[in-house]
């Protein structure tokens, strides 16, 4: 057991955990509004760990909707995790057997993917475990608190916590974008596409999971074609 790698993972997981607390707190409140119980809200968060997916699932569950609709919504919204799993598979060293791959797949989230893929080389498996454990607790604890006691925290504090995740994303993207012009232009293209989907009237209705996939795949594919990375990089 490499304690230092595990500790570093836990440390890097703290901002994710903070962000998750606020997002899942809001999710807990949402579940109660949709007619679910506190236990049901908690179980969903403990077993799914997907913000957009859970937000889509709860109204379907609350209304007793169709299971096929539920499954399709989950696949579409969460398809980006497949891309992230492919990318993360390249970060795993030879100690990752099938069982360990199954274990860490459970916690492939946007934020954990972002932090793990910003690491140099292949981090030891303890790093992944450390990185995943605190956010999982944060996600579950926030849901429980939100569902059980949604209106205890002043709303301004919840609002402020809501940007923690975005702040973390900025911290991951900005340094490489500053040091590498190609990353910068790729990021700017992705942002431009994302804004088009957010503001152009008939594109506004596109599922957020699709928007993320389309914008990031198009921008990355264009730059992979125009500006392929040097050997040994990435």
């Amino acid at each position: 057991m490499q304690r230092s790698a595990y500790k570093q993972g836990v440390k890097d997981g703290i901002p994710i955990c903070l962000g998750y607390l606020s997002v899942s707190f809001a999710f807990g409140i949402f579940c109660i509004e949709q007619g679910l119980t506190v236990l049901e809200a908690l179980l969903i968060s403990m077993t799914c760990v997907t913000s957009a997916g859970q937000l889509a699932a709860v109204p379907i569950i609350g209304q007793g909707g169709s299971l096929i609709e539920l499954a399709m919504a989950q696949v579409i919204i969460n398809l980006r995790y497949s891309l992230m799993s492919i990318s993360l598979s390249q970060k795993l060293d030879e100690t990752f057997n099938a069982r360990r791959r199954c274990a860490i797949s459970f916690m492939v989230t946007d934020e954990i993917f972002g932090v793990a893929s910003s690491q140099d080389g292949k981090p030891p498996k303890e790093y992944f475990y450390g990185l995943m454990i605190t956010p999982w607790f944060g996600w579950a604890a926030g849901t429980l608190l939100g569902a059980a006691a949604g209106n205890i925290l002043p709303s301004v504090v919840i609002t402020a916590l809501a940007v923690a995740i975005y702040g973390m994303f900025v911290a991951i993207v900005v340094p490489p974008a500053r040091d590498n012009k190609n990353v910068l232009y790729c990021v700017l293209l992705a942002i431009a596409l994302s804004c088009i989907f957010a503001f152009v009237p008939f594109l506004k209705g596109v599922q957020s999971g699709f928007v993320i996939i389309i914008c990031s795949v198009v921008a990355s594919a264009i730059f992979a074609y125009l500006k392929p990375i040097e050997e040994g990089r990435g």
Binding site: I61, A71, S82, R101, A160, A164, G167, A190, S220
Partner: protein, 106 residues
């Protein structure tokens, strides 16, 4: 809804979500050599995170102004190579301060 029915819904939600995560992780075991795919996987995380941040961050708070401050604070500290935690907390504090100023002082 009774608890048994809920468990079926839970199983479908958790099962499909896990499925899309675990399948690629189990299938892609070899090191990818193709230069285009490698380059694509190199750019993709940054593109994904940017798409999720902008424009969503600007509607995540009560006032656009506080989100702009939070974003600017995050970029400022990120440019100085501060840790993820520092950048995230500074960004939250920026939002908190701006929201309090707008609500109580302006």
């Amino acid at each position: 809804m009774d608890f048994k029915t809920f468990l079926i819904y839970l199983l479908v939600t958790a099962g499909t979500t896990y499925f899309v995560r675990v399948v690629p992780m189990l299938l892609v075991k070899k090191e990818i050599k193709n230069k285009f795919i490698l380059s694509f996987l190199y750019y993709m995380p940054y593109a994904v995170l940017s798409v999720m941040t902008i424009p969503a961050i600007f509607t995540a708070t009560n006032f656009v102004a506080s989100a702009i401050v939070g974003f600017a604070v995050a970029v400022f500290f990120a440019l100085k190579n501060k840790s993820l935690t520092t950048v995230a907390i500074a960004s939250c504090l920026g939002v908190l301060a701006t929201e309090l100023i707008i609500t109580y002082l302006l």
